[in-house]
């Protein structure tokens, strides 16, 4: 039956995460935003110890197997990540974990590859997994990547440049992590030739050449990786080397996004909620009450704005929960994942911008975190599929069009 009550288990987890967010992340939020590229190592070590054992709080979910019965893994992940992002989205994003790279291995790797690459996240010092797709010449059009992978004896040889790689620096330079790199076996063969390759830390021929200076989520390192005759073992390829006609192989990699889009949406919602909660607090302190049910001609602009913020944020959250729930039920959620991602990116951009506006001169000051939340929020409208790309995906699905029919 239709139900909006989180399970006790998830609620308990949420409480723990909230405590972590409020007591450990918020106090260092401003510092790590100002000191871009430095890491809160103490905090990382603390969360790493927890994440190594029992359940990984930054589990990237994935479609449940119908045969196993319903799970709540994706719902849980969304709730947890909302809470951590409420704390600090930049710090959350830079926490040691298997990341998108790990998600790719989990989705497409063999049992052996999963052991080789993922077991490390349950032992030893903090580690990061990263994913490198975007290049200077292509972001949304990921099928146009130019990084090549050429077979040479027992190795693949990678050449190319990747930018905007989240946690790339931590993954390959500062920890015993890895990066999953999208490369093409044959540019003339289009999408079917694009594959994912795991490049372990310390592999010669891979260099982190720079870190971006960003508007927000500054604690998270956004790396440029250059591959020059970078040789990796043959069995670092995820999936099959077969170059299929059309888009089949490509679709498999893209399917990871059905799981990760709701998660990014959840993170955005956490930031939006931070701004909303703070605005509500300040309005209450200033004696401005939101009169639900008052007629339009009586409502002040601030009341109307605030109610819009609340409704849009909740709409984004319910769409996200739906997408996560579908994954947990083993249902195909490509449409719903793109719906929630495009809605959340837009809604949270608007909510956080409005919060700064409502809070006047103090909202503009770096003495308060609300201006930071606006800067942190914007990226969610962009990465993991821009709002426009996600709208395109929604459009194709509702119209029954292929990417050729609607571009």
């Amino acid at each position: 039956m239709i139900d909006f009550e989180l399970s006790d288990n998830i609620k308990q987890n949420r409480e723990v995460m909230h405590m972590l967010a409020e007591n450990f992340m918020r106090p260092i939020s401003r510092e790590y935003d100002e000191r871009e590229h430095e890491k809160p190592t103490e905090f990382f070590n603390m969360v790493w110890e927890t994440s190594k054992s029992a359940s990984n709080p930054v589990d990237l979910g994935g479609k449940a197997n119908k045969a196993d019965g319903p799970s709540t893994r994706n719902m849980q992940t969304c709730v947890v990540i909302e809470e951590l992002s409420w704390g600090d989205a930049g710090i959350y994003l830079s926490m040691p974990n298997a990341g998108l790279g790990g998600a790719a291995v989990a989705a497409a790797g063999t049992a052996e590859q999963k052991q080789r690459f993922l077991a490390r996240f349950r032992e030893g010092a903090p580690k990061w997994g990263a994913m490198a797709i975007t290049e200077p010449g292509c972001g949304s059009d990921s099928a146009a990547i130019t990084t090549t992978a050429v077979r040479d004896g027992d190795h693949w040889v990678l050449n190319g440049t990747k930018i905007f790689c989240t946690s790339g620096w931590m993954a390959v330079d500062k920890s015993e992590g890895f990066v999953v790199v999208w490369a093409t076996l044959d540019r003339s063969k289009g999408r079917g030739a694009i594959k994912a390759f795991v490049v372990d830390h310390g592999t010669p021929g891979m260099t982190v050449t720079g870190l971006e200076k960003k508007m927000g989520i500054r604690c998270s390192d956004t790396a440029t990786l250059v591959f020059e005759d970078c040789r990796i073992p043959l069995d670092n390829l995820l999936g099959s080397a077969e170059v299929k006609e059309g888009t089949e192989g490509f679709k498999g990699v893209m399917a990871t996004f059905d799981a990760t889009r709701p998660i990014v949406a959840a993170s955005a919602i956490g930031i939006g909620r931070a701004a909303l909660d703070f605005t509500r607090e300040i309005l209450a302190k200033e004696g401005v009450h939101i009169r639900y049910g008052a007629p339009a001609h009586k409502l002040t602009q601030i009341e109307k704005d605030f109610m819009d913020m609340e409704a849009n944020l909740q709409a984004a959250r319910l769409l996200t929960w739906r997408a996560a729930w579908m994954m947990d039920q083993g249902m195909h959620n490509n449409l719903e994942a793109s719906m929630c991602k495009s809605k959340a990116g837009l809604a949270v951009t608007q909510v956080t911008q409005k919060a700064v506006e409502i809070l006047g001169p103090l909202g503009y000051s770096r003495k308060l975190l609300v201006e930071k939340w606006m800067r942190d929020a914007k990226i969610n409208d962009i990465f993991e599929g821009t709002q426009q790309i996600n709208l395109l995906i929604v459009a194709r699905r509702i119209l029954g069009y292929s990417s050729k029919e609607l571009s």
């Binding site: 039956m1 239709i2 139900d3 909006f4 009550e5 989180l6 399970s7 709540t72 719902m75 639900y292 049910g293 008052a294 007629p295 339009a296 001609h297 009586k298 109610m307 819009d308 609340e310 409704a311 849009n312 909740q314 709409a315 984004a316 319910l318 769409l319 929960w321 739906r322 729930w325 579908m326 719906m339 495009s342 809605k343 426009q388 709208l391 395109l392 929604v394 459009a395 509702i398 119209l399 029954g400 069009y401 029919e405 609607l406």
Partner: protein
Amino acid sequence: MVSFQPTEDQQLIRDTVASFAQEQIRPVAHEADETGNIPSNVVQQAWELGVVQSLIPEAYGGAGDARSVITGALVAEELAWGDLSIALQILAPRLLVYPVVEMGTEEQKKQILPAFAGDKFHSGTAALMEPRFTFDTAELTTSARRDGNHWVINGSKCLVPLAAEAEAVLVYAAVGKPGHENVGAFIVPKGTPGMRVLGREQNMGIKAVETCEVAFEDCRVPASQRLGGDSGADFSRLLNYSRVGLAAMAVGVARAAFEYARDYAKDRKAFGVAIAQKQAIAFMLAQMAIEIDAARLLAWEAAWRLDRGEDGTREAVLAQQYASSACMKVTDDSIQVLGGHGYIREHPVEMWARNGRGFATFQGLVMV
């Protein structure tokens, strides 16, 4: 545990009503809007689905189904998807029946409910909105003054569906100072002196259903006719039921418009391709789809809270505002997708926009 899956029973009800909307309502909707007349056989067939009788307890002849605002929202969405005017007509008796079921005295239940548990459509309604620019549910200008063992009602009501034939009108009036807690609901039987139905209104939309202005001039009703007796009834809660119902109906109207625009856009060619293959159109359609789903989920959450006995005012208000806004945008964009053809009454999109505009204003026009 969080779930977005209606129960099997709910799904069955939803499917049944959806079929009815498709097969019986849609074919007559356009003509009904043009002529201002809803075929009585459609209303009677809808009655036979049990949308009013289902909630009446068995003791008064009804099916005795358990209350579920969520189920009500599912039904309301499907009927409104068929046609808003016809949906409002079909559901109008609930405006009287539901408050009596939930908050009526034993005497009131005996007096009112049995007539609505029969085989034939039986008309009932409620009067809430008032003909003012500054209408405020918490500051009604229709008042009820206690006089001995009677209440005396004075004021003006508008947008009262089926006022002329309704067996009784549930009239909302202020019994004290401003505030929802000081609103009383009074069962005023047809023909009561002092209640005058002033002709049929000419509305922007919902043209097929009869709505009337009703004037109250020293209209006296026994104190026993106050809903809930002297302790009154929970007006706030009734308002919330109607907010959720209206939100659900707004979703239905929006969905109708979106589907029509989508299908048109796939068919209509311009510049060598279907217009749906152009981003400007495709993005409008995608945004419509998202907003419809978002509005529905907000309405469901508000309904769920009401079903749990929570106050739910914040959620119900936000759901209605969001759905009403979304409906206006979606129906407006649907006209836009059809271009010049969207402006012509041969296509239903302009009607859906005229109907949809009402949701920003409507209060208390449906009970779920």
